[in-house]
Subunit: 337 residues, 2 copies
Amino acid sequence: MARLISHSIVLIGLVLIACEVPAGGPEVEAPGTVALVIHGGAGGMQRSTLSPERQAEYRHALETTLRAGYELLRAGSSSLDVVEATIRRMEDDPLFNAGRGAVFTAEGKNELDASIMDGASTLGGAVAGVTTVRHPISAARAVMERTEHVLLAGAGAEAFAEAEGLEIVDPKYFWTEARWESLQRAQERERAAQPGGAAAAFGTVGAVALDLDGRVAAGTSTGGMTNKRHGRIGDSPIIGAGTYASAGCGVSGTGHGEYFIRFAVAFDICSRHARGATIQEAADQVVHGVLAEAGGAGGIIALDGGGVPALVFNTEAMYRGHVLADGEPRVAIFNDE
Amino acid sequence: MARLISHSIVLIGLVLIACEVPAGGPEVEAPGTVALVIHGGAGGMQRSTLSPERQAEYRHALETTLRAGYELLRAGSSSLDVVEATIRRMEDDPLFNAGRGAVFTAEGKNELDASIMDGASTLGGAVAGVTTVRHPISAARAVMERTEHVLLAGAGAEAFAEAEGLEIVDPKYFWTEARWESLQRAQERERAAQPGGAAAAFGTVGAVALDLDGRVAAGTSTGGMTNKRHGRIGDSPIIGAGTYASAGCGVSGTGHGEYFIRFAVAFDICSRHARGATIQEAADQVVHGVLAEAGGAGGIIALDGGGVPALVFNTEAMYRGHVLADGEPRVAIFNDE
């Protein structure tokens, strides 16, 4: 009888605890669900301007990246490891504006930014304006794990990365013909005082993962904006703007970075979700509400603590994809798919 | 009769609009109220360690700064102008760790950061890691008003400031005996593997102002952390972390910057206020709740759209003061006053 009463009290206690969890708040899911969502930048790409061959290249790159990340997650890798590995792969792929394939600044240099955040510990790390680090996302992770700091910039960040044994490359490593031609075109337009055009792409890569232990992590890496002013820092290395992760939420953004900073986009989405919005509602409110009303173009990818994804953008297109528990990658580019 | 019906519809419409404004949300106040709140850094200062003469110097500096700002506000200056003027004055004062009086990095340099945000337009600007700009807060404002960017760092930011005609000084201008000795002591402790001690001060200056037209602006400027790693960027130049302003809220923070970034402190306080918390409640929730629970030391100053101030810190002390409509400055240092 005593045991029965004791059990009843425990049961009532559990029911009360369950009732206190707000709808849509941080989920405590049964372990075993994994999820990975990635983006390769948002912008004005259209079917008429992106050749079928090029579209196929992007879709193939997104799909193979998702498959590789899924295998790691199923094998028990942490979400932090998978976010880093996924972004390293995209940094190595010249299709994307991050790592090799980064766009050029107005001075003809490649200045790279990246950030990563571990939702379980709410620790974050980032680097800005590095020119010699092959994988900026790994430098961001080293800042998080091996310093007391969150953000290191410029020569200080490069010296740190080298001291930590990360792979250092000649700045020429980042040079690609396609990005160099983009800079020439941008500077010709500038000389002719022409606007950048609606097809401007916000090149960035990002990943958000949920691992078997229910931990969410998020990361973002970019080569910045073509023809940008020397020293400009966008949202990608700013925890809260381009990247955020908490116990029940992860976000990576891509777009007109200044707007993402001014409206703390990644933090705001996780904050709205923690207050009760679904991850889709939170992302819609910020990307189609706050950002769009202010004139800020871009998009985000996100996961909640139960592995529910949101892929939301207010531009014509966003290179994107996700893989959930069933292991089947789903990739897309345009806003009608 | 038609006119009467039309008027009634307008009236009902206005009542409905009024009812939709959540309690504590952005206030629309009658013009004419002005307010200014400032800080000069938070930390472990105690009566036993800060001499009465030194306390008097700080109190005098805070009080004269508030009086000067109040006069500008009463004369019709914009909150943006007053925030800039107030912070320039504190940047020139070697008492404070900003501008002249900035602390030294591990390499014996002064690297300065600042940011400013205009709540009416939600535009923001910032500079990080500058070594030659006398008034970093003015460089931050120039980034906001004269570029498409929010944040410029390092040599790019310095070149921009010079091109814009801001006052450029030899890096030696920022050298002060007191800060140099602080670096020597910090490095001696480091060599002896001693902890920094509870008396560590987070030197930063900040201001939030409300002008006659009801506009809120906020700004922050700092010399960073003594003995910091080269290239480290803290929260002061990060819109959303160290500084935020919206139509009905302004915040400037001071403290362990990495925590302010990870929890988007300034944005979060304005966001909580916009959702219904008073400015005091919002500041308490974030500084004594979120920050303190994570182990983040520091404080904030804030104003709401009606000129109600909040000055909240979880350290022993914060150099701080405010002046409201009556024009009487109130200054304080320790947590029991």
